[in-house]
């Protein structure tokens, strides 16, 4: 008689299994992570369509083109990126003590969380790309409305557009992860210091730019690189945030 080796459980599971299990833990609740954002986005689109319809019926035809152009700067889809930042903060902060109680190492927890963020970025980039293409194909939902196909995500091909969305989502997810890691590590005191430092650095850089008269240069850099170029550059802060999150989490302890 032979014993089926597959029936026996390994004494210790592989690192990959452990990381995937953390991702499964994050994705236990599908609704708020995978469905709800689309519903909210749909609602925002509906409101945009209504507003445009009200505007269009009130404006003389000559001004409509102007108004349509300015809609290229619509920030209506920003919601989903901020939502994902909050998702990352929640995932790290609320699940960290829980996962540790389940005997997960901090490293596996963070890598599993990162895997979740990458998967969610792919999922939402795909959806956003499809919506942008649909918007373009229907001539702005039949009304000339722009919400997904806007100047911030301007791209020549659907694939480029997908890459753009993906890089943007990764940026927001990992900035959220790093921010949550600061909180998990040092609690509210850490948050105060973190945001104070962030504000000082921002003001410092703004002063530097003003003092050296380099604002045109900065603006030029953005237009020169284009949306995709800027997005590729975002990999630098995204990676820095991802690494910082890991380093911070490895020294964090759950609240007692």
């Amino acid at each position: 008689m032979t014993i089926d080796a597959r029936a026996r459980r390994p004494a210790t599971s592989g690192a990959l299994t452990r990381i995937v299990n953390v991702a499964r833990l994050h994705l236990t609740q599908k609704g708020p992570l995978l469905v709800l954002p689309w519903l909210i986005l749909g609602f925002i689109l509906l409101v945009n369509l209504l507003i445009w319809w009200i505007l269009a019926s009130a404006l003389p035809p000559a001004d409509r083109v102007d108004a349509a152009d300015s809609m290229q700067f619509s920030g209506a889809s920003t919601f989903i990126f901020v939502y994902m930042l909050v998702v990352a903060v929640q995932a790290i902060n609320a699940t960290f003590p829980f996962a540790l109680g389940y005997g997960v190492t901090r490293r596996d927890f963070y890598l599993g969380s990162s895997l979740t963020f990458v998967l969610l970025s792919l999922y939402y980039s795909l959806g956003m790309t499809l919506l942008a293409e649909l918007e373009r194909a229907t001539g702005g939902w039949g009304l000339g409305v722009a919400m997904f196909d806007v100047v911030f995500f301007d791209a020549d091909t659907p694939l480029q557009r997908f890459a753009l969305f993906l890089l943007a989502f990764l940026f927001f997810f990992f900035v959220g992860a790093a921010t949550a890691a600061v909180y998990v590590r040092w609690r509210s005191r850490g948050m105060l210091v973190f945001f104070a430092a962030l504000a000082l650095i921002a003001v410092g850089l703004a002063w530097l730019a003003t003092d050296t008269g380099s604002w045109p240069l900065i603006g030029g850099w953005f237009t020169e690189n284009g949306a995709l170029g800027v997005a590729v550059w975002s990999l630098v802060p995204s990676t820095a945030a991802a690494v910082a999150g890991l380093v911070l989490i490895r020294g964090a302890t759950p609240r007692t």
């Binding site: 459980r9 210790t12 599971s13 690192a15 452990r18 299990n21 499964r24 833990l25 994050h26 236990t28 609740q29 708020p32 929640q90 995932a91 609320a94 699940t95 003590p97 829980f98 540790l100 109680g101 389940y102 005997g103 997960v104 190492t105 901090r106 490293r107 596996d108 490895r250 020294g251 302890t253 759950p254 609240r255 007692t256």
Partner: protein
């Protein structure tokens, strides 16, 4: 007997507060060990250190022969159920029991079902909406059904009624008999769990004041009862753990007596009674805080 937990010279400070001070002990495989002590004695901190959740200030911890900190091969054999366990945002009870098997290779789903029935846990309810007792019951079910080789229960019964607590003790013993494992149980209800425990560790102000087999600890003291004069004469200059008197009667708890001494007590017309674990711990923790105050 192999050792599962080996702690030596362990200290933990939070700023100026010394939570644990030079703690050393070991726990053998497949023992049910009580970690007892007053509030703030350092029980939770000790458990957090043993499960790698906190970092030691000094000293060493070996669980299954290795440091638990960030060691996956050690941590995946541990289940830590704490009183103040937080759950992911909007988790329902169902989600807890769906996800637990991914992390505990010994998880027994049918045992979990049985326990959920026993404790009447509403599985569709959100964890946030559970009562204190139901929340504790969820933790108890995870702790038992995970069958982790090393299971920690930190005050697992908060808000559980007497019936549910008895169910917990019964199921723990039954399942432990079938699937032996090491269980560390921290609790205030010392008399209730007294019969479960094989090993007792008592912490007081961050130090280990009792560490031994439960039976040895129980028989380490005895109470002498009788007329005041006779009791005082018998006790003499033996150290008294506690002293009480009503009218002409006195009752003094002293360290264990030899069989000759027990005979002598009988001859003197004195009664000897055993000391419960709870009383003993009350005496010992009280006396050590008195000593502390005197030396301060």
């Amino acid at each position: 007997m192999s050792t599962v937990i080996e702690v030596s010279g362990l200290s933990k400070r939070f700023g100026k507060v010394v939570a644990l001070d030079d703690v050393s002990f070991s726990v053998g495989e497949n023992k049910i060990c009580g970690l007892l002590g007053r509030n703030g004695a350092g029980k939770t901190t000790l458990m957090q250190l043993l499960t790698g959740q906190q970092f030691a200030t000094s000293g060493t911890i070996e669980i299954f022969g290795r440091s638990p900190v960030e060691t996956a091969s050690v941590l995946e054999r541990i289940c830590f159920i704490k009183e103040s366990q937080t759950y992911p945002e909007d988790f329902s009870v169902k989600h807890v029991f769906t996800s637990a098997p991914w992390f505990f290779s010994g998880w027994d789903a049918s045992f979990a079902e049985q326990l959920i029935d026993d404790f009447r846990i509403p599985t569709n309810r959100r964890v946030k909406k559970l009562s204190r007792g139901q929340l504790s019951a969820v933790g108890v079910v995870v702790g038992l059904a995970s069958r982790a080789p090393l299971t920690f229960f930190d005050e697992p019964y908060l808000g559980l009624d007497a019936v549910a607590r008895q169910t917990f003790y019964d199921r723990l013993l039954e399942d432990y008999a079938k699937h032996p494992r090491t269980v560390i149980l921290s609790t205030h209800l010392i008399d209730e769990v007294s019969n479960l425990l094989e090993h007792v560790i008592v912490l007081d102000q961050g130090r280990v004041i009792i560490d031994g087999a439960a039976d040895d600890v129980r028989s380490s003291a005895t109470t002498v009862v009788g007329p005041r004069g006779a009791v005082d004469a018998f006790v003499g200059d033996r150290a008294a753990l506690s002293r009480q008197g009503v009218g002409g009667l006195a009752s003094v708890t002293i360290h264990a007596l030899t069989s000759d001494e027990r005979h002598a007590a009988g001859d003197a017309g004195l009664e000897l009674s055993p000391v419960s674990l709870q009383q003993l711990i009350i005496h010992r923790t009280n006396s050590s805080s008195r000593e502390f105050e005197q030396s301060a």
